[in-house]
């Protein structure tokens, strides 16, 4: 029989639905994915991109004929090498999953069983499916560890998940997916949880491994710059529907739809650097900090921030950037050095600070979900600082809460909602309003946009910039995203392993000559252009050859 299509995976008119049970209302049928079609040829990579809730993971899992959390595939077909896998029974589908189609989850740390060695978990599926003997599987795992560039591939399999780093774990998971020699791998945001400097290694390893093994892949992410490096085709999704589907070059260089254009052009400069940075509002002077067990997390950090300006603190996880914020707030008093605020020394410990000192410095958290009490309404959340600091009650308080809601560009109709009834971006806005309610002079923003979709994050950044303009607010903005730094900062501090490696006005800090770490950090940020990954890797090779 002649092959009609060369596609390895062919999805036609996929429709996925789920039933939601809103409290106090009758169950509702919702459509998660609607009429999505695509073809994926052998050895090719298709990038699925979209914001959270766009249905991209759901489509990825549909390639394994799996519906997560009550999602049901109700229409269309998913053909793998010509067989409709949706029509296979339970036994049939079991032969497909983990053997012909494999899955790489976002959080490898959560997906590995902490009680078993990595090597055993990597080969488990291949052995269970009877695809190879234990020895053959071990050999293949060793080969894959080498291809993925893992350190000491011979002994890597003997380690437990907690003994290796996050980036290595993600690569081990890729090895696990590649081990049975599958025809298709579904990568579900494999690098989202990693630092940029680690992300680049994992990306390069995944790309190399895919090329080496000639496996087809679905690559799911919300970061267009990442997907541009690894895919052949890109499908942009929104609200479960295809927005645009085409070759990577066309999507990046000539996007046709408005939504795609917005994604490509995200994070253009919002703020120009302030010229005068000489009169500090906050100055941190030779500050060191340690935990009560004696572990030192900050070493001799000195920096300052002027009124009405933004200081961006960049660094990877564990660099001490959040700890610095905790030191400024007084949650972790410094063990050495001192901090002054508005010309006066700041009381080191939170418990001894006066109410006025507390009021002037506010903090916005990364996860707005956990930063607000789920049992309080927006009125209580925003209103409490008003009562607490200014003694507002009753109608005066309600009026002020409404005013703040207007300031954060949300309607007053949200006043009696609970946090669970708000979207991620709205929650972060309410958190900003809570900070504003205290009439602060300095707001510490601890990665307030990193859990949000790019366009929503952009809205939050613009809001912060507008508020800064209106109220002369100063921000300490903690982030790992250089693009944000470029967009909003006046001055930049780069942190690495608890030390400040670079500090100065943005124009100086982000231009050469660089120290080694800043150089690495800047080069690791994915850029929205084709061939960026190859370029960076080539420069790295040249540098190491030159040394």
């Amino acid at each position: 029989m002649p092959e009609l299509s060369t596609a390895l995976l062919s999805v036609r008119n996929l429709k996925i639905e789920a039933t939601s049970y809103p409290p106090g209302e009758p169950p509702k049928r919702i459509t998660i994915v609607d009429g999505v079609s695509f073809d994926l040829a052998k050895g090719k990579v298709l990038g699925l991109i979209g914001e959270s809730g766009a249905g991209k993971s759901t489509i990825g899992l549909a390639a394994l004929a799996y519906g997560r959390g009550g999602a049901e595939i109700t229409g269309g077909e998913v053909k793998l090498n010509g067989t409709d896998i949706l029509a296979l029974g339970k036994g049939g589908i079991r032969k497909v999953r983990g053997a012909r189609v494999c899955y790489v989850a976002q959080s490898a740390a959560a997906a590995f069983n902490p009680a078993h060695k990595l090597g055993d978990q990597v080969i488990e599926a291949s052995v269970k499916h009877g695809l190879m003997s234990r020895d053959e599987a071990r050999k293949r795992a060793l080969y894959l560890f080498r291809v993925l560039g893992l350190p000491n591939p011979e002994t890597f399999g003997n380690r437990f998940p907690h003994q290796v780093s996050g980036g290595q774990l993600q690569r081990a998971m890729t090895a696990m997916a590649l081990c049975p020699n599958p025809e298709l791998i579904v990568f579900d945001e494999p690098t989202t949880a990693l630092d940029v400097t680690t992300q680049i290694d994992v990306l390069a390893a995944i790309k190399h491994a895919i090329e080496e093994t000639r496996t087809a892949a679905l690559y799911i992410t919300h970061d267009l710059a990442v997907v541009a490096q690894i895919s052949d085709d890109i499908m942009v999704l929104r609200y479960g529907k295809t927005v645009e589907y085409g070759p990577v070059q066309q999507i990046i260089e000539a996007p046709r739809q408005d939504y795609t254009q917005a994604l490509v052009n995200v994070r253009q400069a919002i703020r120009h650097e302030a010229a005068d940075q000489s009169r500090p509002l906050l100055s941190v002077d030779h500050v060191s900090a340690q935990y009560s067990n004696g572990f030192k997390v900050l070493h001799d950090v000195s920096l300052h921030l002027c009124r009405g300006q933004t200081l961006a603190i960049v660094g990877e996880s564990g660099s001490g950037k959040s700890t610095l914020a905790r030191v400024i707030t007084g949650l972790l008093p410094p063990s050495d050095g001192h901090i002054s605020f508005d010309g006066k020394p700041l009381t080191p410990s939170l418990k001894r600070r006066s109410r006025d000192e507390l009021r002037r410095i506010q903090l916005i958290y990364q996860m707005a979900d956990t930063a607000m009490n789920p049992r309080q309404t927006v009125r209580d959340i925003i209103g409490r600082p008003l009562t607490f600091y200014d003694g507002l009650r009753g109608a005066a308080k309600t009026a002020k809460v409404k005013e703040l809601l207007e300031q954060i560009e949300m309607g007053t109709g949200f006043i009696d909602r609970y946090p669970a009834e708000l979207s991620g971006g709205q929650k972060q806005r309410v958190a900003i309003a809570r900070a504003l309610a205290a009439r602060p002079e300095l707001i510490l923003c601890d990665e307030p946009t990193s859990a949000l979709d790019p366009l929503v994050a952009e809205g939050i950044l613009k809001l912060l910039a507008k508020l800064q303009e209106d109220q002369q607010l100063s921000y300490v903005f903690i982030t790992h995203d250089i693009a944000i730094v470029r967009a909003i900062a006046d001055s930049v501090a780069v942190m690495h392993r608890g030390r400040l490696v670079r500090f100065g006005p943005k124009s100086q800090a982000l231009s050469p000559p660089f120290d080694d770490y800043t150089d690495l950090l800047l080069k690791s940020v994915p850029e929205m252009k084709l061939g960026w990954l190859e370029q960076v890797l080539a420069t790295r090779r040249m540098e190491s050859a030159g040394n």
Binding site: P23, L350, Y365, M372, P374, R375, Y418, A438
Partner: protein, 275 residues
């Protein structure tokens, strides 16, 4: 809250509890006979006059059941309430403060729990004067060790959440943090425990009565009535089953109401899932 949103099971529970409370309040008017009045033969069969029959001394079981509701309900509710207040407050203070306070409270709690409850209660009740308030307090203090354990565990989970840290950064005091930030988020498991503890309180009270240190005869209480009539079971007399069923029914009613409250608090908009 609208009345028609209350499920039928909760109505059953509410009805049962109200009935018991009604009996307790109006016992002298509701009961056909007096609490200690001997009205007939020992273990006389039930008939039109004596609805549940007579007990081991010839007293009317229905009347004693109605009078017994007073002591049983009062002591069990009071003891459970006191034990919860005590346990929750202490455990939340420990969870929020941490450090030395947590260690002292928790180790003392361990110390209390390491002594078998019943033996502890017997020793203390034997030494102290026999009074219903002392009985309630002893039951409450002993039971609060269990509440403390649970309270500290659930509060620790919530105390590390960022909204609690945000409250601290605002400068809020411990009282606000405990009652406004943590308590509303820990109500579900605590309510479930309340339903269970209430049942245990009734059983504990009847155990103490059985051993002669609980409610003193001739005052009626349901646990004591089971004890008084237990010998009848050997002769095929069901008198002991009546107060036993009453205990079971009351416990079920309390738990039906608690289940409903539990569902309400956990599915409340903004609830923390179905914890």
């Amino acid at each position: 809250m609208r009345l028609r949103e209350i499920p039928i099971t909760a109505w059953v529970g509410i009805f049962g509890i109200l009935l018991a409370i009604f009996c307790a309040l109006f016992a002298p008017w509701v009961a056909p006979f007096g609490e200690t009045e001997v009205v007939g033969g020992v273990w006389q069969e039930a008939d039109a006059q004596f609805f549940f029959g007579l007990d081991n001394l010839g007293r009317d079981i229905l009347s004693r059941l109605i009078f017994g509701a007073r002591t049983t309900l009062f002591v069990a509710f009071a003891a459970t309430l006191v034990s919860f207040s005590l346990g929750i407050v202490l455990s939340f203070i420990a969870a929020v403060s941490g450090g030395l306070i947590d260690t002292v409270f928790s180790r003392f709690n361990d110390l209390m729990m390491s002594i078998p409850t019943l033996i502890f209660a017997l020793v203390v009740l034997a030494v102290l004067p026999q009074h219903i308030l002392i009985l309630i307090l002893v039951m409450a203090v002993l039971d609060s060790t269990r509440v403390y354990r649970l309270g500290r565990a659930v509060a620790l989970d919530v105390a590390v959440m960022e909204f609690v840290e945000a409250a601290r950064l605002r400068g809020e005091g411990t009282t606000w943090i405990i009652f406004r930030e943590i308590l509303p988020n820990t109500l579900s498991p605590l309510l479930a425990e309340f339903g269970l503890r209430f049942a245990f309180a009734i059983l504990f009270l009847s155990t103490l009565s059985f051993l002669g240190l609980g409610i003193q005869p001739p005052t009626a209480d349901w646990g004591g009535m089971v004890k008084d009539n237990k010998d009848g079971i050997i002769f095929g007399i069901a008198a002991a089953l009546v107060p036993g069923s009453a205990i079971a029914a009351l416990c079920i009613c309390v738990n039906l109401v608690v289940d409903w409250l539990l569902k309400r608090t956990s599915s409340l908009k903004g609830g923390r899932g179905d914890a």
